[in-house]
């Protein structure tokens, strides 16, 4: 590739690439373009084979000059994947299988006729929807900031990113002074998207103010919240956008090197990032004297090795330095003394993905989106008991109700909504009464949860909130690094109490002690992991105290989740004496006489596996 040596050459290159991308979208070059979703969800449903099949078909039919096929990042509507989209008509096919490729190719791509059966069906109108933009899931979203290009450009081809305007923001920033760049970010109101929500511009200002021969820019891609995959999709879908964000930050604070710290669990993201870095280097967009200026910058990748605590910024620094990933006491803050003792700024992936947009469109334009205390958009990984599972980007201020019911299309199987958990192991559960809460940093904290990195797990009436608290506490116990005792010992004691409660041994004193312990852990732990670790307990206790009391006093689990508090019964009047349950029981706990005596479960022998419940065809077995 020919190196881009200055700003004029960049603008010329972007123009050429933009024409190519326009051609792809609008078919102005007379070609049809097939794009296939390459997100992890779709890849696990064979989207790579789907793409291979399309490419093979193009070769077989000899239509290389008329049809192209390539991968894009992630459509985000994971429960309907794998996706295939045909340009210029923008027809979106859902739940595509490898065996559907020939039909799509022959009928639509070559024949111009839509394959109706693969279109999305609107759940309300029951009508088939042809275009992506007409699907309700997408209508309330604003997917052009952090998820920019995700369902459009080929993440392994820098020219498509350039065609979408990448590096114009860097070019603009390089014509500004470093302080002007920081001022612009401050003015935009951008806050950290990793969880805590610290103003990004202020972080940059701290590092800018420190004099040092070397400074580092670090991108935190150690996305550990179980149930969150925003950062991964952003990198997988548009790695160039994150690199550009990091370079702008690097320029602003005066860093020459940037480190991406990515979870080892994300091989696709790492691979695409490597390709993107290499392509930037080939074009001279990373290296020395970028665009003919004095700004030089290089990107490096470091892999995590499976430790949740490394998402905490000082633990992350230790990990890059080849140590156990334990947090350091602050101050000194990383902006003063960070990686290898040098001033460093650590920004989350999504935060950096917002930066090019702010510089390109201007801080005022950006600040017009969102609420008073939270500007811009937020990406959520919407999951759990909700119809539309996937990745969504919404303007700040969108309500939880809109998120769950309009975008998420409500709760499946006619079940009742119980809670939505945001912020992962550091966050809390919000309930029915909070549904009209606008999503912003302040509102969520005021209601006992937090923004967090963007996990949003919906729970229905079948989920036991004590069990959910136990789930998070198990996670935290596993992941506590062990450096400080409130977190190491306190979370273990909390877990023991929760285990006692869910096994029916709990007392009211336990509940009291749980609250007290939670507050000690919160106020005395060294890092963010420990300080927020009790949140799942405190928030479920606040909203679902009656459910805790049911476990403790009535020895019942209202949601029928906690095994020790559950009993299986056969209703004698409903039993058809067929013996099916008895034969399927793994521990021979069910006895009766075929055709004569109704069957009975021996409660002492029963291991509460539920096999009998599933085997009975007459609904004679119930859980209590």
């Amino acid at each position: 590739m020919i190196k881009i040596k200055n700003s004029d050459e960049l603008i010329a290159k972007v123009r050429t690439c933009a024409t190519c991308l326009e051609n792809k979208i609008h078919g102005t070059d007379g070609k049809k373009a097939i794009v296939v979703c390459g997100g992890t969800g779709c890849l696990s449903s064979d989207s790579a084979e789907i793409l291979n099949r399309f490419q093979a078909l193009i070769n077989e039919k000899g239509v290389e000059d008329k049809v192209t096929a390539n991968v894009v990042g992630c459509f985000g509507f994971c429960s309907q994947g794998p996706f295939v989209k045909i340009f210029p008509e923008e027809t979106l096919y859902t739940k595509v299988k490898v065996s559907d490729c020939d039909e799509i190719f022959n009928k639509d791509v070559l024949g111009g006729e839509i394959v109706d059966r693969l279109l999305f069906i609107d759940p309300l109108s029951k009508e088939r929807v042809k275009k992506q933009s007409e699907i309700n899931f997408y209508r309330l979203q604003k997917r052009d900031i952090a998820l920019r290009g995700n369902d459009l450009i080929n993440p392994e081809n820098i020219e498509e990113a350039l065609g979408d305007g990448s590096f114009l923001a860097l070019n603009k920033a390089l014509h500004m002074t470093r302080q002007e760049v920081i001022d612009e970010i401050l003015k935009s109101g951008l806050r950290g998207r990793g969880g805590a929500g610290f103003p990004t511009g202020r972080k940059w200002q701290f590092a800018y103010n420190v004099d040092s021969d070397e400074k580092y820019m670090i991108c935190n891609g150690d996305e550990g919240d179980p149930g969150a995959f925003m950062d991964r999709s952003i990198i997988e879908g548009n790695p160039i956008n994150v690199i550009e964000g990091m370079m702008i930050a690097g320029y602003a604070i005066g860093a020459k090197n940037g480190y991406f710290y990515i979870r080892a669990e994300y091989p696709v993201a790492v691979e695409r990032l490597k390709i993107a870095i290499r392509q930037c280097e080939e074009l001279g967009l990373l290296g020395d004297h970028i665009l003919g200026t004095d700004f030089s910058f290089r990107c490096h990748i470091r892999l995590g090795a499976g430790a949740f605590v490394c998402g905490e910024e000082t633990a992350l620094l230790n990990s890059i330095e080849g140590k156990r990933g334990m947090p350091r006491p602050r101050p000194p803050f990383p902006a003063v003394k960070g990686l290898w003792g040098k001033p460093s700024v650590i920004n989350n992936v999504e935060t950096l993905a917002n930066v090019p947009y702010i510089i390109r469109e201007g801080a005022d334009h950006y600040a017009a989106i969102g609420t008073e205390d939270s500007k811009g958009t937020k990406v959520f990984a919407l999951g759990g008991k909700v119809n539309n599972v996937g990745l969504v980007e919404v303007p700040m201020g969108t309500t939880l109700r809109q998120l769950i019911y309009d975008i998420g299309d409500g709760i499946p199987n006619g079940k009742k909504f119980k809670a939505i958990q945001t912020g992962g192991p550091s966050g809390g559960c919000l309930t029915e009464k909070d549904l009209d809460t606008p999503i912003d940093y302040g509102s969520l904290i005021a209601r006992g949860s937090m923004m967090g990195s963007g996990g949003a797990i919906v729970m229905d009436e079948d989920n036991c909130m004590v069990d959910v608290a136990k789930f998070y506490m198990t996670f935290i116990c596993d992941e506590s690094c062990g450096k400080c005792s409130p977190c190491r010992i306190g979370t273990k004691r909390c877990l023991e109490i929760l285990e006692k409660i869910t096994s029916g041994q709990g007392t009211m004193e336990d509940l009291h002690e749980l609250k007290e312990l939670a507050n000690v852990i919160r106020t005395n732990s060294l890092c963010g992991l420990g300080q927020t670790a009790p949140n799942p307990i405190l928030s479920t206790l606040a909203s679902f105290e009656d459910e805790y009391i049911a476990h403790v006093v009535d020895k019942k689990c209202p949601a029928h989740v906690c095994k020790s508090l559950m009993q299986y019964y056969i209703k004698p009047e409903a039993c058809r004496k067929c013996s099916l349950c008895s034969r399927s029981c793994p521990v021979n706990a069910i006895s009766g006489v075929v055709g004569k005596e109704p069957y009975v479960i021996d409660q002492v022998k029963c291991i509460k596996c539920g096999t009998c419940l599933n085997s009975c065809r007459f609904g004679a077995i119930i859980r209590k």
Partner: protein, 164 residues
């Protein structure tokens, strides 16, 4: 050192050499060794210590801190059940229990025949197809307890066929 084969020693030396210009290369070295051999036994840690000058106590500390590094070899098929929140609320704990019961091992353990290791994972990001199970990278979507026996059998059959 005595137990380390010449070929392995040579390869590990190459990995260390690869990162000689890095300021703090330990994590990079260990990641590559783990990827190459599937585990990092004490002999290997001692060897890395000899080559890099990093005390073996420090290396051991790092190896045991991160869940990706293992001191013992894993089974031929590594079964990973996702216990991320989205999978958990859809019943993945029951799936772990079922694998445990049928294989006779607890999470983290390997079967005596060296065929299966059972691991629990923290979110593989396949929340739309929860509960998700991965076996050597292949993702099984929407695994319910009644599918577990079939999945195990799939690999047992595969193994029996390859031994024929």
């Amino acid at each position: 050192m005595a137990h380390l084969q010449m070929s392995a020693a040579k390869q590990i030396a190459e990995i260390v050499e690869r990162y000689k210009n890095e300021k703090t290369p330990l994590m990079l070295i260990l990641s590559d060794v783990q990827k190459e051999y599937g585990y990092i036994p004490l002999e290997v840690q001692e060897f890395i210590s000899d080559l890099t000058g990093i005390p073996v106590s420090e290396i051991y500390g790092v190896v045991t801190f991160y869940s990706f590094f293992s001191l013992t070899p894993k089974g031929k098929y590594v079964i990973g059940v996702c216990l991320g929140t989205a999978c958990y609320v859809k019943g993945s704990q029951l799936v772990v229990d079922k694998f445990s019961e049928l294989l006779g091992i607890k999470p983290g353990q390997t079967t005596d025949d060296g065929l299966f290791t059972l691991d629990v994972l923290r979110c593989v990001g396949a929340c739309a197809i929860a509960p998700a199970v991965t076996i050597n990278g292949k993702v099984y979507p929407m695994v319910s307890t009644d599918k577990v026996a079939g999945i195990i059998q799939e690999y047992r059959t595969k193994e029996a066929n390859s031994n024929d």
